[in-house]
């Protein structure tokens, strides 16, 4: 039976400076993400978006609460177990591209598959498929330094999806991109969300991204203040018609 709930965060809090003046980066957050969602975490700088993403991604541990990924409480996992869990279940897209500079675009996408022990035939097939989807088949052997910002980010998305993770976490994926590149990137993410039913959860304060999200969760001072579908449905509907 496939569980529809991918991410289930209960009473999650993250506190800094506990001994002096405690600062709640994330404060008693409940968040429930279903399979196939295309959800944006929005809020001003310092609202806790990145911290919440890090907690959900197992990069950090909450001081209070639990986070269930497909029913597994990841707050109980050890550091090594979390590394293995992330490898098998989560795709990441970071703000600053974060491709491995000494690997080609193809090798960067293959990297996760190699870590998981995917055989060569499977890797080649999946790489071809992904590079066709991100429309970069001609750049497959280029190094990151030879790619534009938008192209690097597309490769990062392909890498995030290489082993068909449970969900993809993207932290400000369009922050360093120009408008055209950001729009292209969003199109690709939306297309992959639709075609592969991969859940996307991204943090952003980019209105272009917010407009494309089907659900918007607003964070202020570490708390969820609003959780709704995107107000601007025009653009979303227009894309679905394409």
């Amino acid at each position: 039976m496939i569980m529809n709930t991918v991410i289930d965060a209960h009473n999650v809090s993250k506190v800094y400076n506990k001994e002096t003046i405690p600062v709640y980066a994330v404060n008693n957050v409940h968040l429930h993400i279903e399979r196939g969602e295309f959800t944006a975490l929005v809020g001003p700088s310092g609202s806790g978006k990145t911290t919440l993403l890090n907690l959900i991604g197992g990069l950090d541990k909450p001081d209070e609460g639990h986070i269930y990924i497909n029913g597994l409480d990841i707050t109980k996992l050890s550091a090594n177990e979390l590394i293995d869990f992330r490898l098998k279940n989560i795709g990441f897209v970071f703000q600053s591209f974060n491709l491995i500079p000494v690997l080609t675009a193809k090798e960067n996408v293959e990297f996760i598959m190699l870590l998981q022990g995917v055989k060569r035939g499977g890797r080649d097939k999946r790489v071809k498929q992904l590079f066709d989807q991100i429309e970069m088949a001609d750049k497959i052997d280029s190094r990151p330094a030879q790619l534009s910002g938008g192209q690097q980010q597309r490769v990062a998305i392909a890498r995030a999806l290489a082993t068909k993770p449970q969900f993809v976490l993207a932290d400000e994926p369009t922050a360093n991109l120009d408008s055209q590149s950001a729009a292209n990137l969003l199109d690709i993410m939306a297309k992959l969300n639709k075609e592969e039913q991969t859940t996307f959860l991204f943090s952003t304060h980019d209105q272009r991204v917010i407009d494309r999200a089907r659900r918007v969760v607003t964070l202020v001072d570490g708390r969820i203040t609003n959780d709704t579908a995107s107000v601007s449905t025009k653009h979303r509907d227009a894309n679905e018609k394409k």
Binding site: N54, F94, L103, F111, I112
Partner: protein, 405 residues
């Protein structure tokens, strides 16, 4: 495999830095090989000198002779022994010596010496004595009471060719005897202490004074192959159980000790060189880890476990260290081969100082091919030790902190 590829490509991200380290390793390795080659060449040369020009491969004495060098302990049936030894396959040459200790006196002073009574034609083949002559001529068969002395002794006693001196010693009846001799030649070897202590007269002249007629105290043997020493020593011990049969290692234990310990000293120096190099490698790798903190954090976030991160840094260090190895070995081989052919003149270090230890100033280094594996292990060990601290630094990174940088 991808970690291997990444490690190799990573070391070339900063070409200049990597080249500096590679060259440092190459130079350090070259220095280590050069020292090994130099010592190996010097030791080989010293052993050659000891065997070919001083004590031979083997010596036979009466079992009591070497306690106090008393002249009464003559080799019984010495002539038969000498004949039998010359018939042994593997023996190149054997000679006989009469030996006693005494005083050499001149008008200006006296000195304690070992007096060697030789059969000139045999002795010249055994100890190259004739070739060592720097002033005067070899013994004239028509003359009696001629003596050859070392240059150090000649200088000390203010003696020249044709100078007169007196040798005084005890004969086989414990009577003090003396004889006047004239310096026929002054010789010089690479072993100054030996030159100072040893004088040579004809066996006939010495035996007359000692009162031992045709007898002698020592058979000195030169073999065709160095490797046959043990085998022939055993054969001689079985053939002549009543006598003392010694190899050059037993006769010159200080040389044997020097040969055995030289390798250890060389390795110690090599380890010290590589230890110093390790600091440079550690520094380079720490910088590389620091510069790539975010990248390493990203890799760990994606699911690269700590073992793989450790392996990445480990492999980068290994590649960096080993990349310089063939260069260092090649330069070391080239230099050793060149100087082995042409010789390395160390007279600038002081001829007297070198000869006081029994070494000539012309050294022929030998590439230590038999020690190459040990050298490579030292280099690999350096790489392993150098990688530990940077690799631990890398695996201790927390992805969430590293990504913030």
């Amino acid at each position: 495999m991808v970690i291997l590829i990444m490690a190799w490509r990573n070391i070339w991200r900063n070409k200049m830095r990597s080249i500096v380290i590679i060259l440092s390793v190459a130079v350090g390795l070259f220095a280590g090989i050069a020292i090994l080659a130099l010592y190996q060449g010097m030791m080989k040369s010293r052993v050659r000198t000891v065997i070919d020009a001083e004590v031979g491969h083997l010596q036979i004495h009466d079992i009591n002779f070497k306690k106090d060098y008393e002249s009464k302990f003559v080799l019984k049936n010495g002539a038969a022994i000498l004949r039998a030894v010359n018939l042994i396959p593997g023996v190149k040459l054997a000679a006989a010596r009469s030996i006693t200790t005494g005083m050499l006196s001149t008008t200006t002073g006296s000195a304690g010496v070992q007096i060697n009574g030789i059969i000139p034609q045999l002795e010249y083949g055994i100890s190259q004595l004739k070739r060592k002559i720097i002033k005067g001529k070899a013994f004239d068969p028509a003359k009696n009471n001629e003596i050859m002395i070392g240059q150090k002794l000649a200088t000390k006693m203010k003696l020249k060719v044709r100078s007169k001196l007196v040798l005084t010693f005890t004969d086989t009846s414990d009577n003090m005897v003396s004889g006047a001799f004239r310096v026929a030649a002054i010789y010089k070897s690479d072993n100054t202490p030996l030159d100072e202590k040893n004088v040579y007269v004809t066996m006939t002249d010495l035996n007359t004074l000692l009162g031992i007629s045709g007898g002698f105290h020592e058979v000195i043997i030169l073999l065709k192959n160095d490797q046959d020493v043990k085998k022939i020593q055993l054969a001689l011990k079985q053939k002549f159980p009543a006598y003392q049969v010694e190899s050059w290692r037993e006769i010159s234990p200080e040389t044997d000790f020097m040969v055995k310990t030289t390798d250890q000293y060389s390795y110690i120096i090599m380890v010290i060189i590589m230890f110093a190099l390790a600091f440079g490698i550690v520094n380079t790798m720490l910088m590389a880890v620091l510069e790539r903190t975010r990248e390493i954090g990203m890799m760990m976030a994606l699911g690269t476990n700590r073992l793989k991160v450790f392996s990445l840094i480990f492999l980068e260090t290994i590649f960096l260290t080993l990349a310089g190895t063939p260069v260092g070995v090649l330069i070391g081989w080239g230099a050793s081969t060149y100087f082995n052919k042409h010789g390395l003149d160390l007279s600038g270090m002081g001829r007297d100082m070198m000869s006081s230890f029994g070494f000539g100033t012309m050294v022929y280094p030998e590439f230590p091919a038999d020690k190459l594996l040990a050298v490579l292990l030292i280099v690999a060990g350096t790489a392993v030790i150098s990688c530990i601290f940077p690799a631990i630094k890398a695996v201790k990174l927390q992805p969430v902190d590293a990504l913030r940088r």
